[in-house]
């Protein structure tokens, strides 16, 4: 749910902005901060961030829609991002994606009805020595097989 940003977050935003010659340069780190708190960047967050950084809300949305890591809507509690790039594909990423689709009962880009898991494919995560790998929220899990995936998921509350 959209909400007003906490004072603590606003303070942190102002601190971040002070690092740069222009306030608006803090936009990407600020959006990470806001998404961490609210869960997504909706028009309400865009307007709040725009006000704090002295820019127009349209500029915030231009950035939000360019970068893949910003969500415009709420997603599941655990965002399962499976790498579908080369090294991971070579080592069977596709069958693991199929396994997850079957296990969770959703397609790529979808969220489970209980809002616990969202499944997406992403490009190279920079952990190719552990292919195939996935990132859940910001935690990396590598050297995956079906069993390991089941194990990781079972531990997520």
């Amino acid at each position: 749910m959209s909400q007003e940003l906490t004072d603590r977050t606003i303070k942190k935003i102002e601190e971040l902005a002070s690092r740069y010659a222009r306030k608006e340069a803090a936009l990407l780190p600020v959006l990470h901060l806001v998404q961490n708190e609210v869960g997504f960047i909706s028009p309400q967050e865009e307007k709040q961030v725009a006000r704090l950084l002295d820019i127009k809300p349209i500029k915030v949305k231009e950035v939000v829609t360019f970068y893949t890591m910003y969500n415009q809507k709420a997603i599941g509690k655990y965002h399962i991002q499976v790498c579908s790039n080369l090294s991971c594909s070579l080592l069977g990423a596709e069958s693991l994606i199929d396994h997850l689709k079957e296990k969770l009962g959703i397609g790529v880009g979808e969220t489970t009805p209980d809002k616990k898991f969202t499944l997406t494919t992403v490009e190279c995560l920079g952990a190719c020595e552990q292919s195939p790998c996935m990132m859940i929220n910001f935690d990396y899990f590598g050297n995956l097989d079906k069993e390991k995936i089941d194990d990781v998921l079972s531990k997520l509350k």
Binding site: P43, K56, P57, I58, K59, K61, E62, T65, F66
Partner: protein, 516 residues
């Protein structure tokens, strides 16, 4: 100065010039889509790539500065291939809407395909689908499928109007230009967006489906709706031999003039052109029991009346109302004939009321020649009609197209007391019925002369449209009147055209002499 070669042609160019500018200065055309003279080059369309001897890659003409001795080819095989490549990509993901697209005939994709393309489509995939008829505000319709992402519209709203209603969202092939949260484009320069769009991605509702660009004649004129004097093109249709068309004027376009309006015109000047065609007064109306008049008859009659009153030393019984919709030449004639020759003192200079100016082109004065009137000694006065009209026997009014709004009840009531009331107007309006004689005048778009804008620039204008019916230019009427008044034939005998009037003005008045 540097020496460069473009397609083996030697040129002398100033340092700091781009290849594109240098080429255009000698009439060599290099195709370009994202580049626009009003903005810094972005180099994203890749259409203007040229070959420079000694450099391994093709380089952009829009942003590469010339160097001494540079040898440039705009026609080599590599260049032609690269151009075709860009065109092919654009057309692959472009909906070929030409039969229903208003931009047809003036579309850069069409023009460049015609000149540099002429290949068959080899795209066998599904085109990207997007929204096609989005009302983005004011008179604009946006088609995201046709958009080639040159981003001229976004740059315009960012750098010129600074309102930034449009932005670029998503990435890669999904990139799209759009408004934000439905907030519409809302500024006084929105119409320029449809003009600078190289394709039919942003089109004008006002022009939508009305006609085809190739049926239109595009003629130069000056916008008279404020005192900026923006240069414009009036695009009109002269109809077909077998059937007529519903409109005469279809649109106003901007005409570049770096001294006056840069590259732009405001929405008022662009869209409020209905007055050129609607409710036009095309014939002489005589409201009392006199026989219906003709120009010669009425001119003789008026000249007679004016001479009579002057000879009887009753010039104080002559009244004139003028507005600064008259050209410099016409105001000069009014000054000479009425103030100078006939000693008329009661010349009331009445203009439309001032309105809010914007911080760019639109001035608060809403008539085109206020400054010209000032330089010719006419000052604005407030209207005490009873005082003005007291004892007036003969009144001449040179009205603007919008004078009906200014002509209020007190004025109409005061008119009653006057014997002979003559109105020179361009439009059929309610107030016309209060006059004995109504003479049809042509508009600035239909005649020639010069106007002085708010900062004192004098600009000549020429007919962009034919005057309808019996309309006459005010300067012609005044010259004929002066000849019939016959008080100074040597002087008025010189005048056969606005240019000849201007020649004399330049001799007599230093302001106009300096503004040549």
């Amino acid at each position: 100065m540097m020496k460069i070669f473009i397609d083996e042609r030697e040129l002398d160019v100033a340092p700091g010039m781009t290849i594109l500018k240098a080429a255009e200065s000698v009439g060599i055309k290099i195709p370009h889509l994202c580049y626009h003279k009003a903005f810094l080059p972005e180099g994203t369309c890749r259409m203007c790539l040229v070959e420079i001897e000694g450099l391994p890659k093709l380089e952009l003409a829009c942003s590469t500065q010339v160097r001494d001795g540079m040898k440039i080819s705009t026609k080599s095989e590599r260049v032609i291939e690269a151009r075709k490549g860009v065109l092919e990509c654009l057309l692959a993901e472009h909906p070929i809407d030409c039969p229903i697209c208003d931009k047809a005939g003036e579309c850069k994709l069409q023009d460049y395909y015609d000149e540099y393309g002429l290949f068959e489509s080899e795209f066998n995939e599904k085109k990207e689908r997007r929204e096609k008829k989005i009302e983005i505000g004011k008179n604009l319709i946006h088609d995201q499928e046709r958009c080639i992402l040159c981003r001229r519209c976004v740059r315009f709203l960012r750098e010129i109007t600074k309102t930034e209603e449009l932005g670029v969202f998503q990435r890669g092939i999904h990139t799209e230009v759009s408004t934000y949260e439905g907030i519409p484009v809302d500024n006084n320069y929105s119409g320029n967006l449809a003009e600078i769009c190289p394709v039919g991605a942003i089109t004008d509702k006002d022009f939508r489906f009305k006609t085809r660009s190739w049926f239109l004649q595009s003629r130069e004129s000056i916008c008279p709706l404020c005192s900026r004097g923006c240069n414009i093109y009036i695009d009109s249709h002269t109809g077909f031999s077998r059937f007529s068309v519903p409109k005469r004027v279809y649109r106003i376009k901007t005409r570049e003039n770096q001294m006056i309006n840069g590259y732009w015109i405001c929405d008022k000047g662009r869209y409020e052109y209905a007055y050129l065609d609607q409710e036009r007064l095309e014939e002489i109306i005589v409201n009392d029991s006199l026989d219906s008049g003709s120009w010669p008859e009425i001119t003789v009659f008026l000249a007679g009346e004016l001479r009579r009153l002057f000879k009887m030393k009753r010039s104080s019984r002559i009244g004139l109302i003028i507005q600064s919709w008259l050209s410099n030449e016409e105001l000069f004639l009014v000054d000479k004939i009425f103030r100078n020759d006939l000693n008329v003192e009661k010349i009331h200079f009445l203009d439309p009321p001032e309105e809010q100016a914007d911080d760019f082109l639109l001035t608060s004065e809403r008539s085109p020649n206020r400054r010209g009137a000032k330089e010719l000694g006419f000052e604005l006065q407030s209207a005490d009609w009873d005082k003005f009209f007291a004892d007036i026997e003969l009144l001449l009014v040179f009205a603007s197209p919008f004078w009906n709004d200014t002509a209020n009840e007190p004025l109409k009531a005061a008119l009653d007391k006057i014997n002979t009331k003559v109105l020179l107007s361009s439009h059929v309006q309610e107030v016309n019925s209060a006059f004995d004689i109504v003479l049809p005048m042509s508009l600035i778009a239909e005649r020639a002369g010069s106007l002085t804008n708010v900062v004192g620039s004098v600009q000549s204008f020429y007919p962009a449209l034919d005057a309808p019916g019996d309309c006459k230019p005010a300067w012609k009427f005044l010259v004929e009147l002066s000849r019939k008044i016959a008080m100074n034939n040597d002087f008025y005998g010189q005048f056969s055209s606005p240019e000849s009037i201007r020649k004399v003005m330049n001799k007599e008045i230093s302001f106009f002499r300096e503004e040549q």
